[in-house]
Symmetry: C2
Subunit: 156 residues, 2 copies
């Protein structure tokens, strides 16, 4: 197959680049240890607890940009597999705080490293200057589209 990427819309380039990079990170996580029972979507939850332990479900869903129910499923799964634990919030008996277990913390550390490796890979591939430019361009796209779409809503 001749490389068709030069004629593809930028749209498609973004998606393919994202997939490639995600696969790299995901492979890095799974290669590290016995974390075969994690699927990419679980990263949505793990990522956040790595930064801030003891979040509530609602908060996590909002940060990940998915519904509370969806995040609930991920957390259910991760709890069953021993990566994290729900504990009642002492100050609000409606809420539960979600904490990493030792296993979860261990995995989070490796995931963090895999992400860092991917960033280093990009810097090496593009050169630091182009790497920074890429990030700036992506941020502009994200910010630029937010303005226009705010009133019109995103696609269903």
């Amino acid at each position: 197959m001749p490389d068709p990427s030069s004629s593809l819309p930028t749209n498609a380039l973004l998606r393919t680049a994202y997939n490639a990079l995600s696969a790299r990170i995901y492979a890095g996580v799974k290669a590290g240890r016995d974390f075969d029972d994690l699927r990419p979507a679980h990263g949505n939850a793990m990522e956040q607890l790595e930064l801030e332990d003891g979040l509530r479900l609602t908060e996590m869903a909002a940060r990940a940009g998915i519904t509370v129910q969806s995040m609930g499923e991920l957390v259910d799964d991760l709890e069953a597999k021993g990566y994290l634990q729900r504990r009642p919030d002492p100050h609000d008996r409606r809420a539960k705080r979600i904490h990493l277990t030792d296993r979860g913390r261990n995995n989070a550390r490796i995931a963090k490293q895999a992400v860092a490796d991917a960033e280093n890979h990009l810097t090496a591939l593009l050169g630091n200057q182009h790497y920074q430019q890429l990030r700036r361009a992506l941020q502009q796209i994200i910010a630029g589209d937010t303005h226009d779409d705010e009133r019109r809503g995103t696609a269903p």
Copy 2:
């Protein structure tokens, strides 16, 4: 919500930028006319027939990088909605050729325009030079990861 994009991994930036751009294109297609019955995935099929009419299912699936069954579903749906038509291949009685109807051709034209609009939007947003650089960087990421992942396969 304070803009967190500056600290996000490049990975996440790629995904969000992709989503933003896709939503823009998709909105463009739907705004143009009465194509409310199309979902984003249908683009996988329409895109190709726009370039080359009368392809077979197998060919389309291979080009889109999805299975024959998945493409079959999309084609079923598009056929039911009057965007395209299956006609027997006169030279191979196993095969069917997939052709755009008038409605399909009309939609393809609008979709093409929506993609072009999105590219123009990007050029205006980033400046032509940075736009070109973005595309180059994405192509490098795609090509760069292909080499490494070829033997190891992509993530499940």
